[in-house]
C-alpha cells in the first residue's frame, strides 16, 4: 500500500499525485533509480512515469516503489520536509536586469526595482519541470518566497515575441526563455547563457529537472 494516489495516463504511463515539491523530488529520484527503463517527467503537483511501450505491470511497479518510499520515511521517522534528495550543483545565471517589465513588476509587489532584483537574486530556485519549449524550465522557490511571487498573474495579453534569454516571472515561478517565442510572463532581465543546444546529444539543456538555480545580477558599475 502507498499513501500516493496513482492513475493510469493511457496505457503506457502512470501519474502519481505528490503532496509537495519536496515529496515530488524524493519520489522522482526514487522512481528513477528503481525503474531505470522508464522516463520520469515532473508536473507542479504530479509525476508521470512513462514506459517506452504499453506495459501491464507499470502501475504495480510504480506502487511497489511508492510503498518503499513510505516505508523508508516511516523507518527514519523524519518529517517529509527533512527528506529532500541531494540537490544537483547550483547553476548560476548572470542576469542583466534590464527587462521592460522590471519597473511595473516591482510596482506590483510594492517595492523598488532594486529590491525586486535583490529578492530575485537572493531566492534559490529549483527546476520544477521542463516543457513549453526545449530547455524551458519552470523554476519554483526552494525556501519561503522572498516576495509574494504567487500573487503575480501572467500578463493579460501575451507578447507575440519574447526575445531569447529573457528572464521572467509569473504565477509564483521564474523562467528563462531559451529561444524567441510568444510568451505571457513578465520580463525583468536578460541572460546570455545558452539554455538549449540541439547539437549536444548528451546534455542538450543547461537546466535539468530538480537542479538548483541562482540568479546573479551583472554589475554595470564602472570599476575604479
Amino acid at each position: 500500500m502507498t499513501t500516493h494516489k496513482t492513475t493510469w495516463f493511457g496505457d503506457r504511463a502512470v501519474v502519481i499525485d505528490v503532496a509537495s515539491p519536496i515529496d515530488r523530488e524524493l519520489v522522482a529520484t526514487t522512481v528513477m533509480r528503481a525503474l531505470p527503463e522508464t522516463v520520469v517527467r515532473r508536473g507542479i503537483s504530479s509525476l508521470m512515469v512513462e514506459a517506452l511501450s504499453p506495459d501491464v505491470n507499470l502501475e504495480a511497479d510504480v506502487r511497489r516503489v511508492l510503498a518503499s518510499v513510505d516505508e523508508s520515511r516511516k523507518a527514519s521517522q523524519a518529517p517529509e520536509t527533512s527528506q529532500a534528495p541531494a540537490a544537483d550543483a547550483t547553476i548560476t545565471i548572470d542576469v542583466d536586469y534590464d527587462g521592460p517589465d522590471l519597473l511595473p513588476t516591482a510596482t506590483f509587489f510594492g517595492v523598488a526595482d532594486t529590491e525586486l532584483v535583490q529578492a530575485h537574486t537572493s531566492q534559490r530556485w529549483r527546476v520544477a519541470l521542463m516543457g513549453f519549449a526545449p530547455g524551458f524550465g519552470y523554476l519554483e522557490p526552494i525556501e519561503a518566497p522572498l516576495l509574494p511571487w504567487f500573487s503575480l498573474p501572467r500578463r493579460t495579453t501575451p507578447r507575440a515575441m519574447v526575445p531569447a534569454g529573457s528572464v521572467a516571472l509569473a504565477a509564483g515561478m521564474s523562467a528563462i526563455y531559451p529561444t524567441s517565442s510568444p510568451g505571457g510572463w513578465h520580463l525583468i532581465g536578460t541572460s546570455r547563457r545558452t539554455l538549449f543546444d540541439p547539437h549536444n546529444d548528451s546534455r542538450p539543456t543547461l537546466l535539468v529537472p530538480g537542479a538548483t538555480v541562482h540568479f546573479a545580477a551583472i554589475n554595470h558599475e564602472p570599476t575604479p
Binding site: W8, M48, E50, P134
Partner: protein, 311 residues
C-alpha cells in the same frame, strides 16, 4: 576530396504540398522539454520502414505526406515503398501501392495524395541529418527537417544518402489494409468527464500535427489544474467546452484538465481525421488497451510479406 556515402544527392523534391521528414522520433529527451515528435501515423510509417529496411522498428526516415502531390526526381537507384492513402506513379506509369519497388536514376516519382490522413514514403538509402538522434520534423520545437528548424519540405530540397547497396527487399508487400474502428478507445483519466466524452459524436473543427480540436456534447467544466506532463493522445478539456486531442507536436506540459488518453492501438486513427469528420469514443481499461496494443502489433508484424519466404 572524397564525399562520404551520405553526401550524395539521391533525390530532389520537384513539387510538394505539405510534407515533412519523420522517423520514430526523439527518444529520451522529454524530461528536459524536447518532445518525441515523429510520424503521426506510426503504423504506416513502420510498415513503409519495414518494406524497405526489413524491420518495423528502426532509425530510418520516411516522408510524411499530409496533403497534395509530391514529385521527386531520383538521382541514385533506390528501393522505395509508399504506404497510406496515396497512389504512386513512376515516370507516369502506375506503380503498386504498399510494395517495395525499384526506382532508377533519372526517373520521376509522383505520390498522388488522396487522404484522409498521412501517407509515408520510405527510400532505402536516404540518410537525412539528425538533431538529437532523430531526423523528425518537430513544428512545436522547431527542430529537424531539411533546414533543421522544423520547417516542412519545399521544392528544390535535396534528399541526401547513397546509392542502393542491397535489392533484396524489392517485391516485399503489405498483405491487407487496416480499417478504422467505429469508436476510438480511450483510457479514462477523469472518469466522470470521460462518460460525457463517450456519450455522443464529436466533430473535428481543426486538425494539425499539434492535435485536433473537437466540438460535441457539453462536458461539465473543470477547474484549471497545475501544469502536468502530457503526451500525444491526451484529451484536454478547454474552458469553453472544446476538446483538444494532442498530436505528436502537441507539447509536453498542459494546464487544461485531462479527460483521458487515446489507447495506443487507436492513436494512429486520429491522424486520419480531417475537418468536418466525426468521431465517437468508448472508454476501456488500461489493461484492455494494452491487450489491444498487443493484438495490433501482431497484425502489423503479420501484414508484411517477403515473397522470398513464400513456399
Amino acid at each position: 576530396m572524397n564525399a562520404s556515402p551520405a553526401d550524395e544527392p539521391i533525390a530532389t523534391i520537384d513539387t510538394v504540398g505539405l510534407a515533412t521528414v519523420q522517423d520514430a522520433g526523439r527518444e529520451g529527451f522529454t524530461d528536459v522539454g524536447v518532445p518525441r515528435s515523429g510520424a503521426w501515423h506510426r503504423g504506416r510509417h513502420r510498415l513503409a520502414h519495414a518494406l524497405v529496411h526489413g524491420t518495423l522498428d528502426g532509425p530510418h526516415p520516411t516522408l510524411e505526406i499530409l496533403g497534395s502531390d509530391v514529385t521527386l526526381t531520383i538521382h541514385q537507384r533506390q528501393t522505395l515503398a509508399l504506404v497510406g492513402p496515396a497512389d504512386l506513379t513512376v515516370d507516369g506509369h502506375r506503380a503498386p501501392h504498399a510494395v517495395a519497388v525499384d526506382v532508377s536514376p533519372a526517373t520521376t516519382v509522383t505520390i498522388h495524395h488522396r487522404g484522409p490522413g498521412p501517407a509515408y514514403v520510405a527510400l532505402s538509402d536516404w540518410q537525412p541529418r539528425t538533431i538529437l538522434k532523430s531526423a523528425a520534423t518537430d513544428s512545436f520545437s522547431h527542430l529537424g527537417g531539411p533546414r533543421g528548424d522544423g520547417s516542412p519540405l519545399s521544392p528544390g530540397d535535396v534528399l541526401m544518402g547513397s546509392a542502393r547497396t542491397q535489392d533484396d527487399r524489392v517485391g516485399c508487400f503489405v498483405r491487407t489494409e487496416e480499417s478504422a474502428p467505429t469508436e476510438i478507445a480511450v483510457v479514462a483519466f477523469d472518469q466522470e468527464r470521460a462518460e460525457f466524452l463517450c456519450a455522443g459524436a464529436w466533430q473535428v473543427d481543426a486538425c494539425a500535427r499539434s492535435g485536433l480540436r473537437l466540438s460535441g456534447p457539453r462536458i461539465p467544466a473543470s477547474d484549471p489544474i497545475p501544469s502536468m506532463p502530457v503526451m500525444p493522445g491526451a484529451i484536454q478539456l478547454l474552458d469553453d467546452g472544446t476538446v483538444i486531442v494532442l498530436g505528436p507536436d502537441g507539447g509536453l506540459t498542459g494546464g487544461y484538465p485531462v479527460i483521458g488518453v487515446i489507447a495506443s492501438a487507436h492513436l494512429d486513427f486520429m491522424a486520419d481525421l480531417i475537418v468536418a469528420a466525426t468521431v465517437a469514443f468508448t472508454s476501456i481499461s488500461a489493461r484492455s488497451a494494452i491487450e489491444a496494443f498487443a493484438v495490433r502489433e501482431e497484425w502489423l508484424a503479420r501484414s508484411l510479406v517477403n515473397p522470398h519466404d513464400l513456399p
